[in-house]
């Protein structure tokens, strides 16, 4: 079980990022637990400055925009 965190205040792109993570995970047949982080303090503690940002199992992999499906696949399989 992978834990994926999606950081973002709840804008459109953040929702699209969450949907993309779900989509890619189900394509790959991987079980993921998605956590949305929208509180500014928690974002700051994680070092996120531009949203949407994504971390997989506690490791930051992306920030500042919608990630690409191909990249997400690599991160989820790593």
């Amino acid at each position: 079980m992978k834990t994926v965190k999606v950081f973002g205040p709840g804008c459109k792109r953040c929702e699209a990022t969450e949907a993309l993570v779900k989509q890619v995970a189900s394509d790959l047949g991987i079980a993921v637990e998605i956590e949305k982080v929208s509180d500014p303090k928690s974002m700051a503690m994680a070092g996120v400055m531009s949203t949407p940002a994504v971390s997989v199992d506690g490791k930051m992999v992306h920030s500042g925009g919608l990630p690409e499906a191909a990249h997400l696949k690599q991160w989820l399989l790593a």
Partner: protein, 352 residues
């Protein structure tokens, strides 16, 4: 506009050359249409059953000329800016600014504010990221003011709608206001007016992301994504702004405009700022209104003050910042920036 298409869209299937050809074809097409806007808009206006030189005819002509013009300009500018900004990121900017405490940290921050991509919904994490990395509060403010104030979208539209002279004046003064306001705020020692939890926050992990190497096609796609997102969001403001501009252009008598916004009325500059701050729109919505003001003989200083206060000081933005700043700090921030805008307005009305 929907972002859903992205979720299922197959990636990396089109060859690179197709992207280059596509961008070149769309760009050329836009350029050709842009050159034919006057005959096209005159033809559309002639379809309406009103006299061309009547109030209504003037208003319609303004509207049908400006809508395609602003939308084409906006698309082009947003695309180019999106591609150029893909070389910058908030993380890089923070690394550059973190080492600079000297006096030129302020102009540098203002410059980076223009170049670094960030949307207003990211301004809180960005603010915290800067402050927790030890970047002085004043330098952070210079960055935050310059971003919206002298953004490329506003500059490009000013250039296209009211000419390069005013666009240049706006660039120089917007940049100066951001730098000076940041400097003044920095000298005031305002750290104690941050929200408690922000002040107590020690720098977290710096989010050391692996540097991703983008190809040129990746950057073109970022540009297209930006167009989809920004034009998709602001088009309605563009229509409203041009509608108001058209009404002013067609119906407001020149004597009235001179009385309210002319250089003689000393109170017009503070009035313009007072009206501008609570207005919630963006450069794309306000510049067509500015175009109509100037066309009717409004004073340049008053018009600049109005435009700057709308773009740089919007209340919704301040409400977002309320999460990290106390009300007192927000009030000081607004007062300092508004003073700079007032000074600019008076200066121009006095000089011209």
């Amino acid at each position: 506009m929907t972002t859903e298409t992205h979720v299922t869209a197959p990636h990396h299937q089109r060859p690179d050359w197709l992207w280059y050809v596509g961008v070149a074809v769309v760009g050329t097409l836009g350029w050709l249409i842009y050159g034919q806007l006057i005959p096209m808009s005159e033809w559309v206006t002639s379809l309406f059953p009103v006299a061309r030189d009547s109030h209504t005819g003037e208003a319609i002509a303004f509207f049908v000329y400006d809508v395609p013009k602003v939308l084409l300009l906006l698309t082009g500018i947003v695309f180019v800016t999106g591609v150029l900004r893909s070389w910058f990121s908030p993380e890089k900017t923070r690394a550059i600014l973190a080492g600079k405490r000297q006096i030129w940290g302020y102009p540098l921050a203002a410059l980076l504010g223009v170049l670094t991509p960030f949307c207003s919904c990211s301004s809180v994490p960005l603010f915290i990221g800067f402050v927790s990395a030890g970047i002085p509060l004043g330098v952070t403010f210079a960055f935050l003011i310059a971003g919206p104030m002298v953004g490329p979208v506003g500059l490009g539209l000013l250039y296209g709608l009211v000419g390069w002279q005013i666009a240049t004046i706006y660039l120089v003064f917007g940049f100066s206001i951001a730098t000076l306001s940041g400097f003044v705020l920095g000298r005031m020692g305002l750290e104690r007016y941050l929200q408690d939890w922000v002040r107590d926050l020690n720098a977290g992990p710096t989010g050391d992301l692996p540097e991703t190497q983008l190809t040129l096609v990746d950057r073109l796609r970022i540009g297209i994504e930006q167009v989809r997102e920004i034009v998709g969001k602001v088009w309605i403001w563009v229509l409203v702004g041009i509608g108001i501009g058209a009404a002013i252009h067609g119906y407001v008598p020149e004597e009235m405009m001179l009385r309210i916004m002319g250089g003689e009325a000393w109170w017009s500059v503070p009035a313009a700022v007072t009206v501008g701050v609570p207005m919630y729109t963006n450069a794309a919505g306000v510049i067509p209104i500015v175009e109509a003001f100037l066309g009717k003989g409004a004073a340049l200083g008053t018009t600049l003050a109005f435009m700057m206060s709308v773009i740089a000081l919007s209340l919704p933005e301040m409400i977002i910042l309320k999460q990290v700043l106390t009300l007192r700090l927000i009030a000081i921030f607004i007062a300092v920036v508004a003073t700079g805008i007032l000074a600019t307005g008076y200066l121009f009305n006095f000089l011209l």
